[in-house]
């Protein structure tokens, strides 16, 4: 009986504790795994130290033309991006990135069936078309307005100075090393995840 009485007294305390702990801990998220993989001492860098400076890419972007203006947006290591605007509205984003930091991005071009200006090209998701220069530099046009079609994306990809970009001297030694050690879905899909996270990188023919 003594034990029962003690337990009865404990019940409210336990209830309060349970409620408090439940309220304080956050619900699990589908991003918890990547959070764990990308934090802590042994976490891999998201951007490779040998990635090309973003500023190097500026010279290869298209110029303003007709109703379109091209406005600088981001310039980080291994990445540069411009907004393509028409009538003050952003209709697309233009980007160049160094896939040395993300080999899976380059790998999706291996089975490309379409070429744009002589470079392998894929349509990705519902808003992006990309091509790959020198097996390393990815050039992309991403629609931000429904009026900017897949055909518009392909046309604007050709306006980049792709020949100039292909002359860019790459740190091939570091690049090949990274390619050699790369797993197909580094960081974008943990190894124990379901295969359903991968289809994003399946190449589709560009229109």
């Amino acid at each position: 009986m003594h034990l029962v009485r003690s337990l009865k007294r404990l019940v409210p305390l336990v209830l309060v504790l349970v409620i408090t702990l439940t309220a304080c801990s956050s619900a699990p998220s589908k991003y918890d795994q990547v959070q764990e993989d990308t934090t802590g001492f042994s976490a891999p860098a998201a951007v490779d130290k040998t990635a090309e400076k973003g500023g190097t890419f500026n010279q290869f972007f298209p110029e303003a033309e007709g109703d379109y203006t091209v406005v600088p947006s981001q310039e980080k290591q291994g990445f540069a991006e411009y907004k393509l605007k028409r009538g003050g509205e952003t209709v697309a984003m233009l980007s160049i990135n160094d896939t040395i930091s993300l080999p899976a991005a380059a790998a999706k071009y291996e089975n490309a069936t379409t070429m744009v200006a002589g470079f392998p090209s894929v349509v990705q998701g519902s808003t992006a078309t990309g091509l790959l220069v020198n097996d390393r530099y990815q050039v992309k046009v991403l629609s931000r307005d429904a009026s900017f079609t897949e055909a518009d994306r392909a046309a604007w990809l050709e306006k980049f100075d792709l020949q100039g970009l292909s002359q860019l001297e790459a740190d091939t030694k570091a690049f090949r090393k990274a390619q050699k050690t790369a797993t197909p879905d580094i960081r974008t899909a943990p190894q124990n995840s379901e295969p359903k996270t991968a289809p994003t990188l399946v190449p589709q023919p560009a229109g």
Binding site: V47, A104, P199, T200
Partner: protein, 294 residues
């Protein structure tokens, strides 16, 4: 423990004083700001992407970029958070005694208005925070100063709303319509000791360029001077006056019309617009980069 950017975006408030205060500025920047809350929702809105696997891949890349300290995103977030919490520090102590009385009239009993000097430092520090955080997030885009200014001038969405709030809540309300001229005159007359005692400055001073308080003061003065023209034009183009900012706020801050000096202090404590819109800007830029890099 590392901050989780996806949780920050998921937990942004959908209502409350900050959101109401920002919505009250819609009149000046119509349709520019939508209170985007939720990490996946933001990915879908920013990219137009609907494929769930693609959304997940974009989210994962964005998280990896944010967690890579060398990329500067964490410093930008820290600045947006610090400049808000530091500027509200003064009032927060007074507020601590009256939890649950979030009305303007209750607030009046517990706080005195900030002196114009302190308000000026707040305004200038927040502006400099914007410039420094912009560089942490976006780098210095383009090949020339003109390119950089074009990128800065192309503010839209939550970034433009943040600037509208800066000009209205930290400029026009506490200092009046000629706030920029008044603030410039005041900051030019200040010495390093005026900064050292200011909580807003202390909150983010490590991130302000300059070797010492004197150097930082000089950077702040130059930054303010060079953006003064933009701010003046913004105020006149949008027709922002003390009267109409207060009119728009009076719907939810009752009794504020006759106490403008107190209203500025109240907004300082209650409205965390830098952190709120800063998290939204950061998420947008991370997502824009991620979808392009994948």
């Amino acid at each position: 423990m590392s901050k989780k950017i996806y949780e920050k975006v998921d937990k942004l408030p959908k209502g409350g004083l900050t959101v109401m205060a920002l919505n009250s500025l819609d009149k000046f920047v119509p349709g520019q700001w939508e209170n985007l809350v939720g990490f996946d929702h933001t990915i879908k809105q920013v990219t137009g992407e609907t494929d769930e696997a693609m959304v997940q891949a974009i989210g994962e890349r964005a998280i990896a970029l944010f967690n890579d300290k060398s990329q500067g995103y964490q410093r930008a977030l820290w600045m947006y958070e610090s400049v808000d919490s530091a500027s509200g520090l003064l009032g927060a102590a007074a507020m601590a005694n009256r939890i649950g009385q979030d009305t303007f009239l209750g607030f009046l009993k517990n706080i005195s208005p900030k002196p114009e000097k302190a308000q000026t430092v707040d305004l200038v520090v927040k502006l400099v925070t914007e410039v420094v955080a912009f560089c942490h997030i976006n780098g210095i885009p383009g090949d020339s100063l003109g390119d950089f200014l074009a990128a800065l001038g192309d503010y839209g969405g939550e970034s433009l709303m943040r600037m509208a709030a800066l000009v209205s809540f930290d400029g026009v309300i506490p200092l009046g319509a000629d706030f920029s001229g008044k603030a410039l005159k005041l900051i030019k007359g200040m010495g390093p000791s005026d900064l050292d005692n200011n909580p807003t400055f202390k909150g983010v001073k490590e991130e302000i360029p300059g070797n010492n308080a004197k150097g930082k003061l000089s950077f702040m003065t130059e930054s303010f001077e060079s953006t003064k023209g933009w701010m003046d034009k913004f105020v006149s183009d949008k027709g922002i006056t003390q009267g109409n900012v207060v009119d728009n706020l009076s719907g939810f801050v009752e009794g504020s019309k006759s106490k403008l000096d107190y209203l500025g202090a109240f907004l300082d404590v209650s409205v965390k617009y830098y952190e709120h819109t800063g998290v939204q800007t950061l998420a947008r830029r991370l997502i824009e980069r991620s979808v392009a890099e994948l």
